[in-house]
C-alpha cells in the first residue's frame, strides 16, 4: 500500500475558482411566485457549522433539486424546514408569509410534507391505517377509515398513485411503500413535498416510476423539493437545482442550462472524475475460491444456489444484480457471518470452517466492507476510535492479552483519519455524529489498512457523496494494483462497469453469467440481472414462489 498517503478532497488550485466566483444565484426568474423562501438560515451543532447563512428560493409548481455531498448540510436544512430542528438564525417564508416552524405539526399545518429516506410506516398496519396515523379523526376508527378510503381514492385518481388501501404495508414492494409515504403527505394536505434521497432504496424501474409521479404532482400544482446526491436524477427530473457545499448554498442553477459536470464541480469545489481512471489488471494466482456454495435462510429457502467462482490477486470482480437476489447472503457466507448449507470458501488455498467464523476469515487475510455499515460495520454509539478496531480488537498492537491500550487505539484511529481524510478529524467523537460518507470511510479505512489479501466490498458508495465516491474508487483500484483480490458487490451498474475487470451477474441466487466489461454493455447486463435468460428466469420464479 502507501501509494497515496493523503488525498485532498478539496483543492483550490484549479478548476473551481472560475465556477465558485460566478454569481451563484441565477435562480428563479424575478417575479415568479415562491412556494418557499429561506433567508439567512444558520445552524450549528457543536463545532460543526451545518448551515451557514442559507438563502433559497423555491418557485411554486416546480421540482427543485438540492444536491451536495454528505455532510454538506442538506438534511439539516430540510429538517429545519420540517420542524425537526430550529434554526439558530434566519427566516422561513411559505407562500410569501413569514412562518415559524417548531415541529412537524407546524410544517404540516403550513402544507409542507416530507417523505423520509427511511420510511416512517408501521409495517404491520394496512395502507389505510398508516395514512390515518396522526389523523384518526375520532375515538373509534370506523368513520376515519371510511374518510381515508374515499380521500385515498380521490388522490390516487387525481395523481395516478394507485395502491391497494387494504394491503399490509410489509407486503408491499419498497416502491409502493414509498408511494404510501407520498399519499400520507398528500392526505395531510401537503402542497410542498420534501423527498429525502427517495431513490436510495428503489430499483431503476421504480425510480423512473417515481419521477413520473413527481412530474405529475408538479403539473397539478404541487411544489417538490428533491434531496439527492445522484446527478442523473437531478438532470432527469428537476427544473432547478441548488447546490450545497460545506454548509453553504453555493449555487442555484436552471437544470436545462447546466450539465452534470458543472453541478459536480460546484458540489465538491473542483473538477470531479466521473469516470474511474485505471490501467489494465494484471491478475495472478487465485486468492478467493468459492466452491458450490449454497446458503439457506431460516425458512429453508435457498438464497444462494450452488455458486462457484474465483477472484485472483490483482483483479476486481464485480458482482452485479438487482438487490435481493442473493448477493447479501453470498457476502455473508463468504465472510463467515452465515454458515453455508453446503460448499466451501478458500482464502489463499485454505478453507474456512463450515460453521462460519468471521474472525477466522480475517485471520486468513479477508477484509470485509459490509453492505449496511450502520447495521453491521459500525457501532453508532462508540467513539470513532473504538470503531477503528472493530473486528481487529484482538490485534497485538493495541494492548496486551487482556487490557486494551486506549492511546494506541486512538493513534491507530488518528492515522486512519489522516490518511482517509475522515471529517471531522476527531477520533473521540461519537460515530453517529459523522456523516454517511465519513462513516463509510471509517469502515473502509479499517478494512483496507489491515492489508487483507482478499477484500469483500458491499455497496461501497451507497449513501456516499461524490467526493468520497471518487476517493473510495481510487482506493479500490490501488488495492487491486497492490495485488489484492477484490470482490465488489454493487447495485450501481456505473460502479460495476467503472471498477470491475470481470463482471459476474447474479439473479435468483445463481450466477447467471460472466462478462468482460469491454465486451458487454449496460443493456446486456441489465437484461441478465432481470433474468431475461431462460435458466435465470426459472430460478427467479422459484425464489418468487418460495417467498
Amino acid at each position: 500500500m502507501g501509494g497515496v498517503s493523503t488525498f485532498p478532497i478539496r483543492t483550490n488550485s484549479h478548476g473551481m475558482t472560475a465556477a465558485s466566483e460566478t454569481p451563484p444565484n441565477d435562480g428563479p426568474p424575478a417575479g415568479a411566485p415562491l412556494a418557499i423562501e429561506l433567508r439567512g438560515i444558520d445552524k450549528r451543532f457543536g463545532a460543526v457549522h451545518a448551515n451557514r447563512d442559507i438563502n433559497l428560493k423555491v418557485r411554486k409548481q416546480s421540482i427543485h433539486g438540492i444536491v451536495g455531498e454528505n455532510g454538506a448540510g442538506k438534511s439539516t436544512l430540510m429538517s429545519i424546514l420540517y420542524g425537526f430542528y430550529e434554526a439558530d438564525a434566519g427566516d422561513i417564508f411559505v407562500s410569501g408569509n413569514t412562518v415559524s416552524i417548531r415541529s412537524s405539526n407546524d410544517a404540516i399545518a403550513k402544507g409542507i410534507g416530507m417523505v423520509h429516506q427511511h420510511f416512517m410506516l408501521v409495517d404491520s398496519f394496512t395502507v389505510i391505517e398508516n395514512v390515518m396515523l396522526g389523523a384518526e379523526g375520532a375515538a373509534t376508527l370506523q368513520a376515519g377509515r371510511e374518510k381515508v378510503r374515499r380521500d385515498l381514492k380521490n388522490l390516487s385518481d387525481e395523481y395516478g398513485l394507485t395502491v391497494d388501501p387494504d394491503a399490509i404495508v410489509s407486503e408491499l414492494s419498497v416502491g409502493l411503500q414509498q408511494r404510501v409515504e407520498i399519499l400520507k403527505a398528500l392526505y395531510r394536505g401537503a402542497d410542498i413535498l420534501i423527498l429525502d434521497e427517495p431513490t436510495g432504496v428503489l430499483t431503476p424501474e421504480e425510480a423512473d416510476n417515481l419521477f413520473r409521479i413527481l412530474r405529475q404532482l408538479r403539473d397539478q400544482g404541487k411544489t417538490i423539493l428533491l434531496i439527492t446526491h445522484k446527478l442523473r436524477e437531478i438532470m432527469a427530473v428537476t427544473d432547478e437545482v441548488s447546490v450545497m457545499r460545506r454548509g453553504a448554498m453555493v449555487a442555484t442553477l436552471q437544470t436545462a442550462n447546466t450539465s452534470p459536470s458543472e453541478i459536480a464541480e460546484q458540489m465538491v469545489g473542483r473538477r470531479v472524475l466521473l469516470e474511474v481512471d485505471k490501467g489494465p489488471a494484471k491478475p495472478t494466482e487465485d486468492a478467493l475460491v468459492v466452491e458450490n456454495l449454497t446458503v439457506r435462510d431460516r425458512f429453508g429457502v435457498d438464497r444462494v444456489k450452488n455458486v462457484s467462482f474465483t477472484v485472483r490477486r490483482g483483479e476486481i470482480v464485480g458482482l452485479a444484480g438487482v438487490s435481493g437476489n442473493g448477493q447479501s447472503e453470498l457476502l455473508e457466507a463468504i465472510s463467515g457471518i452465515e454458515a453455508p448449507a453446503s460448499g466451501r470458501v478458500l482464502v489463499n488455498g485454505k478453507p474456512l470452517s463450515h460453521t462460519g467464523d468471521p474472525a477466522e476469515a480475517r485471520e486468513l487475510g479477508m477484509g470485509h466492507v459490509p453492505e449496511d455499515r450502520l447495521r453491521m460495520g459500525l457501532v453508532k454509539t462508540f467513539e470513532e476510535n473504538e470503531n477503528s478496531v472493530l473486528g481487529y480488537h484482538n490485534a497485538e498492537g493495541i494492548g496486551g492479552k487482556v487490557v486494551i491500550d486506549v492511546d494506541a487505539v486512538r493513534n491507530h484511529a488518528k492515522a486512519h483519519i489522516e490518511k482517509y481524510d475522515i471529517r471531522p478529524p476527531n477520533c473521540r467523537l461519537k460515530t453517529a455524529n459523522f456523516s454517511g460518507g465519513n462513516q463509510q470511510k471509517i469502515v473502509i479505512a479499517r478494512e483496507m489498512e489491515e492489508d487483507p489479501d482478499v477484500l469483500l466490498v458491499g455497496q461501497p458508495t451507497r449513501g456516499v457523496d461524490i467526493g468520497a465516491i471518487e476517493f473510495i474508487h481510487k482506493r479500490l483500484i490501488e488495492m487491486r494494483d497492490a495485488g489484492k483480490a477484490v470482490l465488489l458487490v454493487s447495485v450501481e451498474l456505473d460502479e460495476i462497469f467503472g471498477l470491475s475487470d470481470r463482471i459476474l451477474v447474479m439473479c435468483g441466487g445463481e450466477i447467471v453469467g460472466e462478462r468482460l466489461p469491454d465486451q458487454t454493455d449496460e443493456n446486456e447486463i441489465g437484461l441478465m440481472m432481470a433474468g431475461i435468460d431462460e435458466a435465470a428466469d426459472k430460478a427467479a420464479q422459484q425464489t418468487e414462489a418460495a417467498q
Partner: protein
C-alpha cells in the same frame, strides 16, 4: 465557545440534573410527611443526622452502600452487554452457600485472611453459576433473561430455605440458620478507620468488604472500558449484528457477562455472612439485589455513578431507619415509599427537568452569540 446550542455542560448533565431530581423526590416526600402531621424539615434533619451525623450512623450508611455497590455493579456489567439481570437478589442469596461452606470448613483452623479469599472465590463461583444458567438459556435457547432471572430468584429462595432447614440447622436448634462462625470466619470491622477520625463505629457492621466494593468498582471500570473483553461486551450490548460481523461470539459473551454479573452480586454474601451475621441466615440479601437495579440505573451504569448512588441509598436506608425510630408516625413503609420516590424521580422521570434546562442554556447561548455578533460588527472584521 466549544458548546453549541442544545448541548449541556457536563456539570449540569451529571451534577445539577440529578440533584434537581433528588430535590423533587424529597419535595414530594415532604408533602407526604406533612400529610401525616409531622414537620418535613425536622424529618430531613433527623434523616441526615441519622445517616451522616455520627460515627455509628456513617458506619451503617457505608455498610448498606457496600451491598448496593456490589449489586449495582452486577446489574451494570450485564447492562453493558445488553442484558437486564433482575436476578441479583437470588444470585447474592445463593452465593451465601459457597461462602458458608468454605467458612464452616476452615474457620476453626485458619485465620480470616486465608478463609476470606477462599470464601470470596466460592461465593463468586456459586453466584456466577446461578446467573450463568439463565445466561446459558438465553444464549442457546433464547429464553428471555429478564424472565429467567426473576424465576431464579424464587428458586434461590426455595433452595436456601431447604438448605438452611435441612442441612445447616444445628441439631436441636429452632432457628433455620447455620452455626455461628469462629474468629477464622469473620472479617475485620473498620473501627480503626473511625478511630482515626475520632469517631466511633459503635454497633455498625461496617467491615473491610467496603474496600472490596471500592476495588471492584475500579476493576469493573477497567473491565468495561479498558479490556478486550469489555470492548466485546459493549459491542454486543450496542450492536449485536456488528458483534457477529466482528467475529465475536454472542452466546459465549452472554454467558460470560452473566457469570461476571452473578459473581459481583455474590460478593455481598461476604459482607453479610463474614462481616455482619457471622452465620448463614434466612433472607440475608434483604432486597439489596433489587436496590442494585435502581442504583445501576441512577448511576448510569458507570462505577462512579454507582458508588454515589449506592451511598445515597445507603443513607436513605440508614437515615430512614433512624427517622422511623424517632418519628413513630412515620412508619417503615413510608420510608420505603420515600425510597420509591427517589427511584421514580431519579430513574423513570430523569427527563423531567431536562427540557427546561436545555431551553435555559439555549437562551444563554443565544445571548452570548448576539453579544459576540455585536462586538464583531463594532470591531473591524477579520477572522
Amino acid at each position: 465557545m466549544s458548546l453549541s446550542r442544545g448541548e449541556l455542560p457536563r456539570w449540569v448533565d451529571y451534577g445539577l440534573i440529578p440533584l434537581l431530581n433528588l430535590a423533587a423526590a424529597f419535595l414530594v416526600a415532604g408533602l407526604v410527611v406533612i400529610a401525616v402531621g409531622e414537620n418535613p424539615l425536622e424529618a430531613v434533619e433527623l434523616m441526615l443526622f441519622g445517616a451522616f451525623g455520627y460515627g455509628e450512623g456513617v458506619g451503617f450508611t457505608l455498610y448498606y452502600a457496600t451491598n448496593f455497590i456490589f449489586t449495582g455493579l452486577a446489574v451494570a456489567v450485564a447492562f453493558h452487554a445488553g442484558l437486564f439481570n433482575i436476578g441479583g437478589e437470588g444470585q447474592a442469596y445463593v452465593a451465601g452457600l459457597g461462602v458458608i461452606i468454605v467458612c464452616l470448613a476452615l474457620d476453626q483452623f485458619m485465620p480470616w485472611y486465608i478463609t476470606a479469599p477462599l470464601a470470596l472465590i466460592a461465593g463468586c463461583a456459586v453466584g456466577g453459576l446461578w446467573a450463568f444458567v439463565p445466561g446459558y438459556l438465553q444464549a442457546t435457547r433464547g429464553s428471555h433473561i429478564v424472565i429467567t432471572t426473576i424465576m431464579f430468584n424464587f428458586i434461590a429462595a426455595a433452595l436456601m430455605t431447604y438448605m438452611l432447614v435441612n442441612v445447616f440447622r444445628q441439631p436441636g436448634a429452632m432457628a433455620p440458620e447455620s452455626r455461628t462462625l469462629e474468629e477464622g470466619g469473620r472479617i475485620p470491622r473498620l473501627d480503626w478507620l473511625f478511630d482515626w477520625f475520632g469517631a466511633n463505629l459503635g454497633g455498625a457492621q461496617l467491615n473491610i468488604s467496603f474496600f472490596l466494593a471500592l476495588i471492584m468498582s475500579f476493576l469493573v471500570w477497567v473491565l468495561i472500558w479498558r479490556t478486550r473483553l469489555g470492548y466485546r461486551l459493549r459491542t454486543l450490548g450496542q450492536n449485536p449484528t456488528a458483534a457477529v460481523y466482528a467475529g465475536m461470539r454472542p452466546p459465549r459473551l452472554i454467558m460470560i457477562a452473566m457469570a461476571l454479573s452473578g459473581a459481583l452480586a455474590g460478593m455481598m454474601a461476604i459482607n453479610e455472612i463474614m462481616g455482619v451475621h457471622g452465620r448463614l441466615i434466612l433472607e440475608f440479601a434483604g432486597g439489596a439485589g433489587f436496590v442494585g437495579i435502581a442504583v445501576a440505573l441512577m448511576g448510569r451504569a458507570h462505577p462512579i455513578g454507582i458508588v454515589l448512588a449506592a451511598l445515597l441509598f445507603g443513607a436513605l436506608y440508614q437515615g430512614g431507619a433512624e427517622l422511623a425510630f424517632s418519628m413513630p408516625s412515620i412508619t417503615r413503609d413510608m420510608i420505603i415509599a420515600i425510597q420509591g420516590l427517589v427511584i421514580l424521580f431519579a430513574g423513570a422521570l430523569e427527563g423531567l427537568f431536562r427540557p427546561a434546562i436545555v431551553a435555559f442554556f439555549n437562551a444563554q447561548y443565544d445571548r452570548r452569540r448576539a453579544r459576540e455578533a455585536a462586538q464583531a460588527s463594532s470591531a473591524p472584521a477579520g477572522e
